[in-house]
Symmetry: C2
Subunit: 338 residues, 2 copies
DNA sequence: GTATTAAATGACAGCGTTGTCATAACGCAT
DNA sequence: ATGCGTTATGACAACGCTGTCATTTAATAC
């Protein structure tokens, strides 16, 4: 497998295989009437050069574009990811760009391959990466190798050759913890987020800073590891609440885990917020639909995403790669806290 | 504005305007050095012919593709729309197609324009339409005019020139109502869904059939109009529960409205399920995250969407437009019903 | 009015592929 | 070997646009 300097085209393959471009075309499109022997030679050349046909050229010759659309009504109550999608989609439309989505389930061995395909097949020129993928080492390496312009949303480490947007997670978490402390709580449980998300560490740091400044001694027992999903929040809450001296408030690193905590409190017959205060993070639809509705933190997701998308597009057009300031979060007080 | 028979290209415009194709190109790309007079002539010709430049050809000449990617981790707990997106995205990837998303907020005066742009700009060859857009008259007309191959998800009326997928909503709703009746309930409230969604009527019909077969007299007071959102469910529940003789069970036409109902029950101090049984529809993440978790109906969304997408792609490739049977739903019993 | 310069316009190649049609090689029966 | 019908291969135009560079036209100065 060689490292193709410039993009290889059908001529390169034809030359290497010692056949005409038409024959290469036939092999690529699985057409009949190619000797097995020849087919193999061509296939080898393709592999060696890492050749991928140009979708644009194909389309131009009358083949379809292999693009299909999906129309849907944009409802209000979207989850975190959805808010990002919508914002990015809108920003792209305004700039005359087309956005192609690619969801992954981690761990994913075919990740590199899939990203490469995204470039060749779907013709993407730049890529926006959401957490926790934004910090995925293999992915970042792959993107760099492909010299793919990148915009990272809330990454832990921000390479300077990428557009990055962040928000003041640490400060928001600090503010939230102070808010809880000011309501008279002293034993405050904390459920950490998924360790792969940069936000997790930031939010935890804010909690720690608040305790320190308000002179509350840190009790390791009150710190739980969660993974941003409902079940992990539930499990963590169960453990916290069965402590000999349980917390009177629990700060969960996102709304899903807060929902799990709320569920667990119910199971144990604890009244919220009177016997237990609970807070979330992200202000998803869930937060306002639970009973009682959750006190949480609202990130300016739409603004962040729009900025990242615009930034990426600007770079693609050769403009200055502007540096983005962190965006401010805001506490949303509801009824899950005393 | 003429009706272009075949796709107009830059030559048509040049001829009509009496200039060279290069000049047309200059106008289209807002390049300098074109006399105002000339520019106008060209612009007029473009309008009259409804010309839109070919993105594929542009890309081939070295301009970028104007496509950017967005990578995200595929989490489990997705809403209804998200499940559809993910399934469609996956089906497309498997078939070597690229899926382009376009969210709308209704009502939208620029809908037709946006769809046209989707065709020209994003080069889509076929379109999948989700409810309630699947029944949007103006949209359907526009798509038909453009001769755009279409796949409709859960439409009310199914034109035979479109791929359509449906599921057994009526039967599922009937089964659910019977389930509730069999638990001893006689006064069962029903919160209807958004009138624009085909599913709303189907679900209501199932409820009616169950009452009839079980010889329970229909009480109009127990029927409420909702709109599939949390707030409308809450409002409907409030009204139902303040009736002189309130229902002992409420069937909401989706999970969001069931969540609103649950909230309202809490506000009124009613125990769920002992004093009030509640059911939802769709089996979204919300349903299992609430307390108590909701009894609801699970649609095979992934299967439906995959079938629709595959069907559309088959048609695009000139194969037989297969007819799809309705998909079966399944009741998921949880703790919100006695 | 003519020379000089700048602005406006056009002719043409090239982008990477596939379709058409011509040509070359093969397989087989004579 | 010879001829014939396949099967395999290649040459070349076409797809619709933009870049380069040549040419025409207008504007300005003398």
């Amino acid at each position: 497998m060689e490292q193709p300097k410039a993009k290889t085209n059908i001529y390169d393959v034809a030359e290497r295989a010692g056949v005409s471009i038409k024959t290469v075309s036939r092999v690529v499109n699985n057409e009949p009437n190619v000797r097995a022997n020849t087919r193999e030679k061509v296939q080898t050349a393709i592999e060696e050069l890492g050749y991928m046909p140009s979708a644009a050229a194909r389309e131009l010759t009358g083949k379809g574009s292999r693009v299909i659309g999906l129309l849907y009504e944009n409802s209000e109550d979207f989850s975190y990811t959805n808010k990002i999608l919508t914002a990015a989609l809108n920003a792209c439309e305004e700039e005359g760009y087309t956005l192609v989505l690619r969801p992954f389930t981690l761990p994913n061995p075919r990740l590199a391959e899939s990203v490469k395909q995204l470039k060749e097949n779907a013709r993407v020129e730049g890529i926006i990466v959401l957490p926790p993928l934004a910090d995925h080492k293999a992915l970042r390496k792959q993107l760099k190798e492909m010299a793919m312009p990148v915009a990272l949303i809330a990454p832990k480490t921000a390479p300077k050759d990428a557009i990055c947007v962040r928000c003041t997670d640490e400060q928001a978490s600090y503010d939230l913890a102070c808010f809880v402390i000011d309501r008279g709580h002293q034993r405050i449980g904390f459920i950490k987020g998924h360790p792969d998300h940069s936000a997790s560490a930031e939010r935890f740091a804010g909690y720690l800073r608040a305790l320190k400044e308000r002179k509350i001694e840190l009790d390791e027992q009150l710190i739980m590891q969660g993974y941003f999903d409902y079940e992990s929040g539930k499990a963590a809450a169960k453990e916290l609440l069965s402590l000999p001296s349980p917390p009177t408030a629990i700060i969960a690193s996102n709304d899903d885990m807060a929902a799990g905590t709320l569920f667990e409190a119910r199971e144990l017959g604890l009244g919220v917020p009177h016997q237990l205060s609970i807070t979330g993070f992200d202000d998803t639809a869930l937060a306002s639909h639970l009973w009682p509705p959750l006190t949480t933190v609202k990130q300016p997701i739409t603004e962040m995403t729009t900025a990242a998308t615009r930034g990426l597009i600007q770079r693609l057009q050769g403009d200055e790669p502007l540096v983005l300031e962190p965006f401010n979060c805001k506490i949303v007080v509801r009824d899950s806290t005393t």
